[in-house]
Symmetry: C2
């Protein structure tokens, strides 16, 4: 564990294969790390290794690893594959214990690549060096400034220069990924969706550090609240499952396992040379381990957002509070499809809502059955008082607030008013406003600033809520020591 | 048909129940129509009816309908329900033939509301007046400037005033909706997603004009390329199905039918007083009519976008062209889940791609099996030449281009280069770049400017392509006079 920690919080980094030439991997990595150091985000020492330079980008540069002034906590290796084993041997000699090998040309190309990777691993083991990679994009930790994302930072389009690879802000979602290209796309997706990142690891050929170890590490990482895994295949499945079982007691694990279908599996085989196994075996294993499995990219991040912002639900009885009957119906449809229970409010809860109606707090034409339809005549107060009732109700485990903002009497203060009501309540709340115009976007952003995950369609909100009940169930079962049944 | 046309292209409009008071429905509708007239979007005459004013917002105002200088082509009625039948009677006397009744308080409230609605319909029939509504949001036609969307145009949030109900630009997607609140949210969604609108109708209680007639009208409307329907229940199902069958020969119909599940149906009953029928009956009827049914709000618009921009596919054999193996695998997964065929390229197509490899046009490590993985070394030319091969291939019916923009050698000119290759080709192409950062968004926008529907996740692109093959199949079967089999 302690060793892996240095991958994310090194006090010194050396870039092996640093280059003067913009666009080269060894240049881009050094440039980003230098920028992070200049900005004060990366606070450690930075070195470069290049036989022909004494300085690159203002970073002190040494002709060889053996000449480095002190052993770096972390080496980032971006040199041709055939030179990597020797570099690792030299790192071992000076006492470095952690290396990210970006270089490709190992097991993924077969033949001599496999031999080279075996050699790399043997040398690393001899010195007790831990390797992330090879054939990977590496590590991103916005908090510490460790960032080996060497792909172009900016690109030109339509006469404008735009950020080509935006980094997410610091946050509590961690992602480990088999695919580097897809990992980079995920960072871009997270940045645009304003999702915060704790740790990102593209582990490539996982010659040494594998998914299981990374999950153990992230389980122990206080910054990580949700662990996301993207994989086409999983190696050493038993270790993985055991690590997941340990982790889910403290934080949820969400897996997007591609190559689900026969066609997908065939495609994955030609892509990674990793055997993509039978999907139903994965499915059973994930269930046994308490892993939440998602079906697609959007769901991965929708679910991650909900799990990073809201507590798990204590049961599956969900209430829907809306001002649009149709949207309420769609939410209920998706909840039922996802195995949730539409909370039956009859009795005290309904009586309290009827009382609000009598007192003129909620409109007389409102429907107080679940989904509760406050109608287009609703105002902020109607939402506030109704939410209060639902949060206090013993028959409600979670609430989806669906406030279509278009109606006249809802205001931009609704998010903070509802946050006031929800403060200290241990029941998950998920928000939805349908629309992609500027007000809808601003309204959802404001809800998220107040801690409510917000979605642009009823179904996405229902999916997010379903993950919160799933994780609640997983935790209960694991804490009770029982097994998860489907 | 001709009569319905005046709802969208009237030469004169009278707002019955126009008000001086901002926020009132009769004020907001008049204000919007006046603005559209001032902007030159609405080119006809505009009148207001109000007993106590001679002029409102600069619009000539008359004390009663009977005193209007000439019968308006379209009357928009926003007065209390009990006065509506008389107003319609007066409209009949002066010779107006089309009225949108915004007012609520009819069948949806039961009891006397039902009686009032019957009376309204009787009077309208007597005069040969067509009614949209009552209890609706009405009509939006960005092309002609007819716009009865009375909900707040702007609202304040976080100290800023933002457009609360943005209108979509003029385009080729038409939407008819049972739910007004959800309809408004759809307009907001379309505006933000840059989807163009031809006609929008919120038909409310459909006392007179119903879904079937609207579908017939939209089928004949040259501006409409895709017809979207949102409904919780469908009345006069046989007429609806017959209208749909006629329409799908010329344009696709996509239906989002809520109240799919038992819980959803229960919720819908309390919401609309309309009987939400058994879902499998709807399913069978939709299939028989050649209607494309979608599962959620996002799919509705994703599919609409694809159908409005690309030709239907002649078969289900799809090729995926990518620079990210993982994303390719996910695309193939979703395609297979949706019943598509992953095109088998072996033979001539693969040979031509191999030839590109030999000539150094596509990288030597590329995989030329479907999904074709050009890898992170790909450049624009590799995409252009590969797409050319796929479009010419007799074994490919449609192509999903998945260009993760992050890699170094792809440029912002890719969209126009690919558009050049695709010009005049009658095979659908769908685009995907994963990411929500500024470059990804700009890249997708540029693809859309060039006519390629673009999506931020592989699965959404695959769903869009599946709709293009579904509509292709529907058209073939209907043109052959056969029936659709599941």
């Amino acid at each position: 564990m302690l060793l892996l920690n240095k991958f994310f919080y090194p006090e010194s980094i050396a870039v092996i294969g640093a280059s003067r030439k913009p666009g080269k991997v060894g240049h881009e990595i050094l440039r980003i790390l230098k920028e992070n150091k200049d900005k004060g985000v990366f606070r450690g020492e930075l070195y470069a290794v290049n036989p022909d330079a004494r300085e690159i980008l203002g970073v002190p540069t040494y002709p060889s690893i053996l000449e480095l002034p002190s052993p770096p906590d972390l080496a980032v290796i971006a040199i041709p594959a055939k030179f990597v084993p020797q570099a690792v041997d030299e790192l071992g000699k000076i006492g470095t214990k952690n290396a990210v090998v970006i270089s490709g040309g190992f097991a993924e190309i077969g033949g001599e690549g496999i031999v080279l990777q075996d050699q790399l691993v043997r040398i690393a083991r001899k010195h007790g060096i831990r390797i992330v990679g090879p054939n990977c994009i590496g590590i991103l930790c916005p908090e510490s400034g460790v960032d080996t994302m060497f792909l172009p930072y900016e690109k030109e389009i339509g006469g404008k220069t735009l950020k080509s690879l935006p980094r997410p802000k610091t946050g509590s979602i961690s992602l480990i990924t088999q695919s580097g290209a897809f990992g980079v796309a995920c960072l871009d997706y997270m940045a645009g969706e304003r999702l915060g990142l704790a740790k990102f690891v593209s582990y490539g050929n996982r010659a040494d550090v594998n998914e299981a170890e990374l999950i153990d590490y992230l389980a122990s990482d206080p910054r990580t609240r949700v662990i996301l895994v993207y994989a086409e295949s999983i190696e050493r499945g038993k270790e993985f499952i055991e690590a997941a079982k340990r982790a889910v007691l403290s934080k949820p694990i969400v897996v997007l396992k591609a190559a689900r279908t026969k066609a997908g599996a065939r495609a994955a085989v030609s892509h990674t040379a990793a055997m993509a196994g039978m999907d139903d075996i994965y499915d059973a294993a994930f269930r046994q381990a308490g892993i939440i499995r998602v079906n697609n990219v959007e769901e991965l991040f929708d679910v991650a957002k909900a799990l990073s912002m809201q507590p798990p639900a204590k049961g599956k009885r969900i209430a829907v509070l809306t001002d649009g009957g149709g949207a309420g119906v769609m939410t209920v449809d998706e909840l039922e499809r996802r195995g949730q229970i539409i909370a039956d409010l009859s009795g005290e809860t309904e009586e309290r809502l009827e009382e609000l109606k009598r007192r003129g707090v909620i409109p007389p034409i409102a429907s107080v059955k679940n989904p509760i339809d406050l109608t287009g005549s609703a105002d902020d107060e109607a939402y506030v008082r109704s939410l209060e009732v639902l949060l206090e109700s013993p028959v409600v485990d979670g609430v989806i607030i669906l406030a279509l903002h278009h109606i006249p009497r809802l205001t931009g203060s609704l998010p903070e008013k509802l946050a006031e009501v929800a403060r200290g309540v241990d029941k998950p709340i998920v928000f939805c406003d349908v629309g992609q115009g500027e007000y809808a976007v601003a309204f959802r952003e404001k809800f998220e600033e107040h801690g409510f995950p917000a979605y642009p369609t009823p179904e996405r909100a229902a999916i997010a809520m379903s993950a919160l009940t799933a994780y609640g169930m997983i935790r209960r079962k694991f804490l009770e020591g029982g097994l998860i049944t489907p």
